[in-house]
Symmetry: C2
Subunit: 229 residues, 2 copies
């Protein structure tokens, strides 16, 4: 049973405490705002109202066997920097800190954060890709460049099988799924559309008009593929 | 050339305006805080200091051919709701609004937002998965369940080829990449590690100790695979 310390229960910290708890972890949740502590105490392992810049207060917690500490403080640069420094001092090895600015992010790394995250930067980047690429419906990349995305099938693909199209050789991409709309009829004769999810389609699967292809590859190959539309 | 309207230049709005501009789009950036408008005017198409809850002020902008409007206002519920309603009134079809709370998110949808986003919820969920799953280094899912993730190769895979392991039949997953550490020697005899990225590995590729596998599949199959460790 993994144990985590989450400091700061704004939207991000709250959602993180909730997600970790849902996945079966033990969560110690901290905030200096009593209302926010109240808001999580029904589901986290323990909820504590304290100021994380107070070293004695943090020392008073039982932090044995902690998998990681997450500093989810948002706007207060001083508080997130000081808190990170104290956690390092207490011997916590895995400290994930949220960055609120360029310089502050660099400081956090220097004083002990093993990983810096920015929900705003990540999602802004994903959203920008989504908005810009024609027909690319969702587009998500791992930090190493491997990317998964969905795109509407182009006319030149209709009625050709995956083995004929050979995405791997021609585009450096793999088709890992196809979403196909099927028309169904209810007993009363009403037609409704249903989405069929073909996971890991076989090589003999033929692409139809209206299909949404789920593709995987490296970022550069995907950019090339998209720009060829 | 796609045109976007970004209202609210906090961290998220700022990063979005920047990402869209980097990708070649025209961006009209709005904030009621002059300093933040100053902060983007060197790179966006046009930066305007106005209050987006002022209908006349928004009407004064040229919003023809707008691909989408993004309401990136964070904490001010009233402002983001009112702004969304005005944009709908002005005939903007594609309105993406950032949610700041459960109820407020529902209200935004009811009054015209075509899509709601929450950087905090998305990244909290991704981070929670990252923290909980042993050996799963990055784990990102499309909304439809298709997921890409990295995992350390298990001992039972060492020295077996992909065709022997048949991930597709045995786990419902595809191996789309392998990251392998290679030891190199400099001229002065110093050994350093380099990461080799094998994209779309062939069926005859054998897995080695220390390999990181990049896998794709549906969420449920991935959960099963991870839990079998
Ligand atoms: N020294 C501290 N000790 C404990 N909690 C703190 C401390 N400083 C800030 N916090 C808490 O951190 C939480 C998040 O910080 P803040 O509200 O500034 O960030 P935010 O960017 O608005 O967060 P979010 O985007 O997650 O809603 C707040 O609830 C605040 O009470
Ligand atoms: N009515 C309005 N008109 C124009 N800009 C507005 C209006 N209301 C709020 N804003 C701007 O929206 C921006 C983002 O809002 P806010 O700072 O409340 O959110 P935040 O959650 O802290 O943002 P982030 O997490 O992106 O830093 C602010 O710069 C603010 O000036």
């Amino acid at each position: 049973m993994k144990r985590f310390l989450v400091i700061g229960l704004g939207q991000f910290g709250y959602e993180l405490a909730k997600a970790l708890t849902d996945k079966g972890a033990e969560v110690i949740a901290i905030d200096r705002n009593m209302n926010l502590v109240e808001g999580v105490k029904d589901f986290v392992t323990s909820a504590v109202n304290l100021d994380s810049t107070d070293e004695d207060a943090l020392r008073s917690l039982n932090l044995d066997g902690l998998e990681a500490a997450i500093v989810a403080i948002g706007e207060d640069w001083e508080a997130s920097i000081l808190t990170t420094a104290i956690l390092k001092e207490l011997g916590i090895e895995n400290i994930i800190a949220r960055r609120a600015g360029d310089i502050q992010g660099k400081i956090l790394e220097k004083i002990g954060a093993t990983r810096i995250i920015s929900p705003e930067i990540n999602i802004a980047d994903q959203l920008a890709r989504n908005l810009i690429s024609p027909g690319v419906l969702e587009h998500i990349a791992l930090p190493d460049g491997h990317t998964i995305f969905q795109v509407e099938a182009r006319p030149e693909f209709y009625n050709k099988t995956l083995i004929e199209l050979d995405f791997r050789r021609n585009f450096g991409l793999l088709v890992v799924g196809i979403q196909r709309k099927k028309a169904n009829v209810t007993e009363s004769g009403e037609v409704y559309m249903e989405t069929e999810n073909i996971s890991l389609p076989s090589a003999t699967e033929a692409i139809k008009q209206g299909d949404i292809l789920v593709l995987v590859g490296m970022k550069a190959d995907i950019e090339t593929f998209i720009s060829r539309e």
